[in-house]
């Protein structure tokens, strides 16, 4: 138990102790940061490789087919083959494109997403950097996605890219707000923005998902996070039937691979944050190592996202925006209010009040949203081009 639990923290400590004999103190600080960083980045790379495999396997199961099964046993070597193919493909920059921006955009897309892993608490004492503004750091860094997506479109100079990037940026912006506000309700209850302390606060209060506001907050957060990472059913940016591949139409080889990486890891990191904020992070039964608990919760949430992708039809862009601004945004405000009431009222009245507030709010708002959908139903021009 102790050995498995301390596999990573103990390993790092061991290296640090060995290094302490050799290196001066300032370099030790750097070494400590670099060790955590390399571990997290290696984890991110492996996660990306096998998420692509898992996604295809799961989608295959949902659609009654096998998924990748040619390269290695169960297709387990498929990601490596994909990686080799990415590297070997010719890199094409379309004529008239801004070459500098074209080279820069994939790098800028993936770097912030990798930064997200820095504040996730993977286990007890396993946060890359336990910033005291942790969750806000996560939200701020993930907000960088929208200008980056625009850069991808501007660097390609193709109609599909420009249109896809504008849509993607507007979508990411719109869903950022409910996400930020849903996280706010947790910060109120925990009284801190550090991800690690939020997990510890849930050891005291119980998992936040078990409260009415927490349940609704998690719903809002997960939906917003799905849209934020451009995943199905919100993948307007690359609606294949109308936009080819959206903002990364003109990117081939590993540049495309990097955009793919940003999408998968962004979704994964959001699941990790959802597990941290609402599902008690690494709190779990004692016979499992804390990092194992965190991984189980995160993968369970990511499975839900894959489930969405395999079963739900895609939104239309106007419905997508209405969904964010007419339902999720006001609902997230109600979640905040209900989280405040939860603190000020006793259990029974708080329960009644939040259920009335959230249930009633959801009922009214979904009615409003439905009216908007009906009003705008039928074929209409939603291209966003004049």
């Amino acid at each position: 138990m102790g050995v498995i639990e301390g596999l990573f923290t103990g390993g790092k400590e061991f290296v640090m102790q060995v290094a302490a004999a050799w290196l001066p103190a300032p370099l030790l600080v750097l070494l400590s940061a670099a060790l955590s960083a390399v571990a997290l980045l290696a984890f991110a790379a492996v996660t990306f490789m096998y998420l692509t495999w898992l996604e295809r396997k799961v989608a295959g199961r949902f659609q009654d087919r096998y998924g990748p099964n040619r390269v290695g046993p169960f297709g387990l070597l498929q990601p490596i083959a994909d990686g080799l193919k990415f590297v070997m493909k010719e890199d094409i920059i379309p004529v008239g494109a801004d070459r500098v921006v074209h080279e820069l955009a994939p790098v800028l897309a993936v770097t912030p997403v990798l930064m997200l892993f820095l504040v996730l608490p993977f286990g007890r004492g396993m946060t890359g950097a336990d910033l005291n503004v942790g969750v806000l750091f996560f939200l701020g860094v993930s907000a960088v996605q929208s200008p980056v997506v625009i850069a991808a479109g501007m660097g390609a100079r193709s109609k599909y890219s420009v249109l896809g990037s504008m849509r993607a940026a507007a979508q990411i912006l719109s869903y950022e707000i409910p996400m930020v506000l849903a996280v706010l309700s947790v910060v109120m209850a925990a009284g801190t923005m550090s991800t690690n302390s939020i997990v510890e606060a849930q050891a005291r209060d119980g998992w936040y998902v078990l409260t009415p506001w927490g349940a609704f907050g998690m719903l809002v957060f997960l939906l917003a996070a799905t849209a934020e990472s451009n995943r199905h059913p919100f993948d307007m940016a690359e609606a294949e039937s109308e936009l080819v591949a959206g903002f990364h139409t003109e990117y081939s080889g590993f540049k495309f691979g990097l955009f793919q990486m940003a999408e998968f890891l962004g979704g994964f990191a959001s699941c990790g944050l959802a597990a941290t904020l609402f599902l008690g992070g690494w709190l779990g039964p004692a016979f499992l190592p804390t990092w194992g608990v965190f991984m189980i919760k995160t993968y369970a949430l990511f499975f839900v996202l894959m489930w969405f992708r395999a079963t739900l039809p895609r939104f239309r862009i106007d419905q997508l925006m209405a969904f964010a601004w007419l339902l999720l945004f006001p609902l997230s405000l109600l979640v905040i209010l209900s989280s405040a009431l939860w603190h000020f009222l006793a259990l029974a009245p708080a329960l009644v009040a939040s259920l009335v507030l959230l249930g009633g709010g959801y009922w009214v708002l979904s009615g409003v949203l439905w009216r908007e959908f009906e009003r705008s139903s039928g074929p209409r021009d939603v291209t966003g081009v004049r």
């Binding site: 940061a33 980045l41 109609k159």
Partner: protein, 120 residues
């Protein structure tokens, strides 16, 4: 890791993440073939020769979403410091914040009434 060197952790991590993103591109530059052609390097337009300037003839709608985002984003940034002290600030703090949010809900209602947040 103590709190005082948090920026070291962030900085080191950012540099390494950047390196990790650049490495495969450099590798691809070394390995991948490179023989451009006029047809191949055209922007993709379903196989036909592209027409017109791809630069958007976009509608003002996109701007309105960004505008609404900025307003409510600033709102959220003012709420976060309050959320941290929420339990100590008590009912008085809550009322102050409810007034704050209430004004912005007015802004939201106005935007919805103006149909600025739905695709026209």
């Amino acid at each position: 890791m103590s709190i005082t060197d948090s920026f070291v952790a962030v900085g080191v991590y950012a540099v390494l993440a950047l390196l990790m993103a650049i490495t495969p591109l450099v590798l691809a530059r070394l390995v991948a073939p490179h023989n451009p052609g006029t047809e191949k390097n055209r922007a993709y337009e379903c196989g036909v020769v592209e027409t017109g300037d791809p630069w958007g003839q976009l509608r003002v709608q996109f701007y309105l979403y960004a505008l609404a985002f900025l307003v409510f984003d600033v709102e959220a940034l003012f709420l976060y410091p309050w959320a941290v002290v929420f339990k100590d600030a008590g009912l008085a703090g809550l009322i102050e914040v409810v007034v704050f949010i209430g004004l912005l809900v007015l802004a939201w209602l106005y935007a919805v009434r103006m149909r600025a947040l739905t695709w026209e």
